[in-house]
């Protein structure tokens, strides 16, 4: 039977598998305190996923504040949306706004490289779409184990094919990325995906559900059992032997780029027709996230009839429907008088759309399942007031020894060995041509790619009549960052900044994807804290703000963490892309070669 709020009230002592869902004792106790009773299965599913490290930023929040604290009003002057929104947005002039963000899909890409990477691209593209923008291009900073390790042969081709298939099929040119090999990534490849989009300034859509009586419409793919591996512990009792116990489900989502392409065009038409008040993509935490975040950011409550959600699998429980990570779905807030027009646009694009609820004047998120209440919570406690940890921070004992072990200890090559050394370096995996990878990515589609691989940064034309464009680069050297996280993060920033500047664009904003080991390891937290400080201080010095980012913790095998990898993305603006500076020397005889800097 369904675990309703009524049932939960009458069975306060029923044991719940909160530990299996990743909640700590005190976190579970706090949920009981907030609700004044035990949570229902559906509520427990919601809180557990929204309070996870990935969704709540519980270990990183106290540090990320530093980005906001160090951003001055002047740095903020071009920023239309910043940290806390789905993606940062900057005003680039002529009425154009640019939104861009990087996100990690590391673990799923290790389990199933092709689908993990594909759905990583799909997810970041929906983030950009949810800002009201047309996605324009993608980039993919990647990290793998040693090039000759057998598992790299499984992971790398799969990841590259997945990034390629999804991006190519969406018609988004791939304009850059990174491929780096290091032993620490062997059990933890990093698949970071970046997307950039553009819109007119007045078309910015923010994720919030406001306006009592406005309708909540779920549109896009059907909801299935994707990625609910963890939550299946809640389901085991509800399936008797005749139905067959639901086996432990793979936590893998399969992407459908065609559906996403149609979803993009459909959404853009909905925006154009001004049929959307607020919008949210369905990311990692599915409907749990979309409903609680929309309600939490709005000015009222929300009521959702969960049984209306179109399903792909039979016998799904409310907890499963809320937790499903099925891809290619969006949730919109629509004025009642616009619902018919909204549905008509969806029908044109053959996109399934279902009214699943409405904004209420209360302050609760109430979710029903066949008329019975299964969730009744204050939405902020789910989405924005999760636990916050001040994790212990400790400079690693070996840091001094590591720093003392400088290249000075290495033997110098003799003069006649230099040529050989240069050849060996040129052929080494970290310096060799990336063509095997980049050949699998469409860089031409839609005809606005001004620069792509092998240029220092990607460049996209935004406006064909004015020739305004943007440049983007991502960088990070994990080895430098391991040696000195503060300076390492600044070097990543400086490199991306230089890469953008050398193409002729003016850097204006920064995003990041902070890939680290376990936050429960004080040494890792030290690296994290130092990297954040370094990046923020560097940005303040350069005068450009961090507009958003993503944190990926727990990238480690056993007790060995990956190299600290704060991938930094820099966005630049160029007012006439025809004046871009391509990479390369030697186009004409007689050119003079100048070295700038020390």
């Amino acid at each position: 039977m369904t675990d309703t709020v009524k049932h939960a009230e009458s069975t306060p002592d029923q044991e719940q598998p909160y530990k299996e869902l990743g909640l700590k004792d005190d976190e579970y106790a706090r949920i009981r305190e907030i609700l004044g009773r035990r949570p229902t299965d559906a509520e427990l599913a919601m809180y557990s996923v929204m309070w996870s490290e990935h969704c709540s930023y519980k270990s990183s929040k106290v540090h990320l504040k530093y980005f906001t604290e160090t951003t001055t009003d002047e740095m903020r002057s071009k920023m239309l949306a910043g940290i806390g929104e789905n993606a940062g947005v900057v005003d680039i002039g002529d009425g154009w706004a640019i939104t861009f963000k990087v996100e990690s899909h590391n673990h799923p890409s290790y389990v199933e490289p092709f689908q993990g990477a594909a759905t990583g691209v799909g997810g970041i593209v929906r983030d950009i779409l949810a800002m009201g923008a047309r996605p324009l291009a993608v980039m993919d900073p990647l990290r793998f184990g040693p090039a000759d390790a057998p598992d790299t042969r499984r992971v790398l081709p799969g990841v590259v094919a997945g990034v390629g298939q999804y991006g190519n099929c969406l018609g988004l040119p791939n304009i850059g990325g990174e491929v780096v090999f290091d032993a620490t990534y062997a059990g933890n490849p990093l698949v970071n995906a970046m997307c950039v989009g553009s819109m007119r300034v007045e078309d910015l859509h923010l994720a919030h559900a406001s306006g009592t009586g406005n309708k909540i419409i779920l549109y896009g793919a059907r909801t299935g059992l994707d990625g609910i591996g963890g939550v299946s512990v809640l389901a085991s009792e509800t399936f008797d032997d005749t139905a067959g116990k639901r086996k432990k489900l793979p936590s893998v989502q399969v992407g459908d780029p065609f559906t996403e392409k149609v979803l993009i065009e459909c959404s853009l038409e909905l925006f154009r027709e001004r049929l959307v008040v607020g919008i949210q993509d369905l990311g990692g935490a599915g409907l749990s996230c979309a409903t609680s975040e929309l309600a939490s950011a709005g000015d009222g409550g929300m009521r959702v009839q969960l049984d209306r959600v179109p399903l792909r699998a039979s016998g799904m429980t409310p907890a499963e429907v809320l937790s499903s990570e099925s891809q290619e779905r969006m949730c919109a807030v629509v004025r009642p008088e616009d619902v018919d027009a909204f549905m008509a646009v969806c029908a044109k694009w053959d996109v399934i759309a279902t009214e699943i609820g409405e904004v209420t004047d209360g302050d609760r998120l109430v979710i029903t399942w066949h008329d019975e209440v299964v969730v009744d919570v204050p939405p902020r406690t789910v989405a924005h007031e999760g636990p916050v940890y001040h994790r212990p921070v400790q400079r690693p004992d070996d840091q001094d020894a590591l720093q003392a072990d400088t290249p000075d200890q290495l033997a110098r090559p003799a003069a006649d060995e230099v040529l050989d050394l240069v050849k060996r370096m040129a052929a080494s995996p970290n310096l060799a041509s990336r063509e095997w990878v980049t050949q699998q990515y469409d860089r031409y589609v839609r005809g606005n790619t001004v620069l792509a691989q092998p240029a220092d940064s990607g460049m996209i034309r935004i406006d064909e009549s004015t020739h305004r464009g943007v440049a983007l680069a991502t960088d990070c050297n994990g080895r430098y960052t391991r040696l000195d996280p503060y300076t390492g993060a600044q070097l990543a920033l400086a490199e991306a900044y230089r890469n953008v500047a050398t193409t002729g664009a003016t850097p204006v904003a920064v995003t990041n994807c902070l890939n680290f080991g376990s936050p429960e390891d004080p040494a890792v937290m030290w690296q994290f804290e130092r990297a954040v400080k370094g990046l923020a201080d560097g940005c303040a010095q350069l005068g450009i703000p961090v507009t958003g980012g993503n944190v990926s913790f727990y990238n480690q095998t056993g007790s060995t963490a990956i190299l600290p990898t704060p991938v930094v993305g820099v966005l630049g603006v160029i007012d006439d892309v025809r004046r871009r500076i391509p990479t390369g020397i030697g186009a004409e005889a007689g050119e003079t070669l100048l070295l700038l800097g020390e």
Partner: protein, 223 residues
Amino acid sequence: MRVGVITFPGTLDDVDAARAVRYADGEAVPLWHADHDLKGVDAVIVPGGFSYGDYLRCGAIARFAPVMTEVIEAANKGMPVLGICNGFQILAEAHLLPGALIRNHKLHFVCRDQWLKVENNDTAWTTRYDKGAEILVPLKSGEGGYQADRNTLDELEGEGRVVFRYVGDNPNGSRNNIAGITSANGRVVGLMPHPEHAIDALTGPTDDGLGMFLSLLDAVVNA
């Protein structure tokens, strides 16, 4: 010159095809897959992309779209039709062009700047080129290997209906290095590479592709 550019669900290069038409001083007319309507255009471009996701077989679903009934009828009456990449696959599935396109022999999607040799400058889409000229345009496809049985290949070669051939190493395993072919009357052309991505050296490797759209202008004006 009014040139229809079809959009199927999953079409990607329609904006590029329309831009190329504009660069050749034509008017690009958007055509929607679900309409039985060519809007009185002088020619049609079936652009690249992944119609319906191309999950079954490239072009297999798109060829049944209502607009394709009209395209087939118009093509049979001599209207110039150009299929680029997915568009070529759709025209082959629709039997407007012989043969079929299969997975690249190395199984990877390939995006690269590709030299092509113009073998036939007698079609509605290639008169602006010199016969034997070499042009550089992007190729970007996962299923670009041209296949046909011996008789069909002999017929194509014998009648000079191979329009473009890959120069250098074969990028996808195409029979006879075929990059593009034409119908018996020279009005329908299909090719895997993308001339519409090579109309401006700012955003493509060259502007070598523009010749195809200018050729069409001549064909329509002189018709």
